[in-house]
Amino acid sequence: MIYPNINPLVLFFASIFTSNILLTNFLGMCSFISISKDLKSSNGLGIAVTLVMTITTGLNWILERYVITPLDIGYLRYIIYIIVIAAVVQVLEMIIDRVSPNLYMVLGIFLPLITVNCAILGVALFMQLRNYSFIQSVFFGLGSGIGWWLAIVLLAAIRKKTENAPVPAPLKGVGITLITIGIMAMAFIGFAGMINVQ
């Protein structure tokens, strides 16, 4: 196996800032737009995404390396990844409910939403496509999760401001949100070339 020569820590920061999964790849947009109305919920969803992303990327790496590649069944990758994600979400939900009811309160309704968050599947697929090592993959997953978290919290904060701003009537609500996301994306894409993540 030849892994790309990137320091995992560099990859970690790159996936937060310069190659933010949300703002450069536009993955996970649906929950990004709908949940970012409220800062507290955004925070909860951000934590949940980070947690699930890190765990599933690691698990999927193991399956990729020891099951999918040796058996040459790459065409089943999507199915396998998605059932792993679904199962991990289920298990996490049960464990969090038991261990920390308070955290469950914060994450409770968001965890099931994450099963269908395309950013999670996206990260797993990128990890395979870019041929990362296990350590690199976990850092990539963690970084992408935190990047997603950062982006949604930023957007929630901006939306709080635009709520009281004199937005032209036809643009109120989703309209101005999409414009905001566009400008945020431009700011993030400005850094995109700084670190090569491939």
């Binding site: 399956l63 099951v67 058996l71 069944i73 065409y75 089943l76 199915i79 396998i80 059932i83 792993v84 199962a87 289920q90 298990v91 049960m94 464990i95 409910d97 038991r98 009811p101 308070n102 309160m105 409770g108 309704i109």
Partner: protein, 369 residues
């Protein structure tokens, strides 16, 4: 070879994950035995933990009212919890006022029993029973509403206030694997203690209504739980303005029959019944007969879209418009009034607005979600 490998790998991975979920579920969700203390030690139940409070109580024979059967969509199963069960869930808050949150009123279907719990239940809840009955007749009263008459067997008598509802237990059928409960108002009068009648309109895709319309036959044994509900005649002298649509006829019919039987005929009663066309009207003769015998009772059926062949002479238009018209012109203005509503949430909201316009604040209804 490949054709075997692919499904094999997917099934092995899936079963490994499923096994993991089952094991985690068994370990994590095993809460052992917990104790429910009701009304400060008046009743103590030892039950298996892990399930929602509502279901645990009903399997122990205590029936907290719930119109939706535990889906968290009606907000009816409110219970005062005296011990600490954690903060309110986002699924509970939409149904709670600030005062209720402060008093730790919870939705019994949303709180999971994890440890010993102390709750308070109103005494009358202990009167709610599960009845076994036999379907005596199923009649088509319109093309999509059936009148279900049930003879109660065990226990064989029910005491209820006219206007209250029961929950009909629907056994598993087709691909519905769990018994389901749905709330239906009793349409017969309370004097008829050994029978109840329900009016059930076919809702496309509805679990209970499909069962009643397609599978239930005369002679079937059914279970009902009840009676529940705050929708009944208030003992005042105010004029009663009643509005119903479709199967919303049921509780109103019960209330009117009950008033007539008990000789409460001094109050003015206006009953507006809204339907689309003549084929949606039913029990018209019954109420017109009553109108002749009872001078203060007025029955106003109204059609919103009468067909040409209906040859309709009565009121036309949406029931809210007819109500508005009568309140403005026919019904005396200066007497106190009460509103009684039963029908779709849309109809109820629209009627409440009309009542609001005329300053009628005492409006009663059961909103089934």
């Amino acid at each position: 070879m490949e054709i075997i490998v692919a499904p094999l790998v997917v099934s092995i991975i899936s079963s490994a994950l499923a096994l993991m979920i089952v094991i985690v579920d068994g370990v994590v969700n095993n809460y052992g035995e917990v104790e429910i203390d009701i009304n400060n030690g008046k009743k103590k139940l030892k039950v298996k933990g892990g399930a929602p409070l509502l279901h645990t109580l009903s399997s122990a024979g205590i029936f907290v009212p719930s119109a939706c059967g535990g889906r968290g969509s009606c907000g009816a199963c409110k219970v005062k919890v005296l011990s600490d069960v954690g903060p309110h869930l986002p699924t509970e808050l939409p149904y709670m006022s600030k005062e209720e949150v402060a008093e730790n009123i919870r939705l019994a279907c949303q709180i999971k029993l994890k440890k010993d719990i102390k709750i308070y239940l109103p005494e009358e809840l202990f009167n709610i029973k599960k009845f076994k009955g036999i379907v005596e007749s199923i009649k088509d009263v319109t093309y999509d509403i059936k009148e279900l008459r049930i003879r109660l067997v065990e226990p064989n008598e029910i005491n209820f206030k006219a206007g209250q509802y029961v929950q009909l237990v629907i056994p598993p059928y087709e691909n519905i694997k769990e018994p389901t409960q749905r709330a239906y108002s009793i349409s017969s009068s309370p004097s008829n203690k050994d029978h109840i009648e329900l009016l059930i309109r076919l809702v496309p895709g509805g679990i209970a209504t499909t069962y009643v319309h397609k599978y239930m036959k005369e002679g079937d044994v059914v279970e009902v739980v009840g009676p529940f509900g705050e929708f009944y005649m208030r003992e005042t002298n105010a004029d009663m303005i009643m509005v119903a649509g479709g199967s919303g006829m049921a509780p109103i019919k019960s209330i009117i029959l009950d008033m007539w039987e008990r000789g409460i005929t001094e109050r003015n009663v206006w009953y507006f019944f809204g339907a689309r066309s003549k084929r949606d009207l039913y029990y018209v003769e019954l109420f017109q007969e009553l109108e002749k015998k009872w001078p203060k009772f007025h029955f106003i059926p109204a059609l919103s879209d009468p067909l040409p062949e209906d040859d309709w002479q009565g009121e036309t238009g949406l029931i809210t418009n007819v109500l508005d018209k009568y309140l403005a012109t026919v019904i005396p203005q200066d007497t106190p009034k009460e509103g009684y509503l039963c029908g779709s949430p849309g109809m109820i909201n629209a009627c409440v607005q009309v009542f609001d316009k005329y300053g009628i604040k005492d409006v009663y209804y059961d909103k089934f979600a």
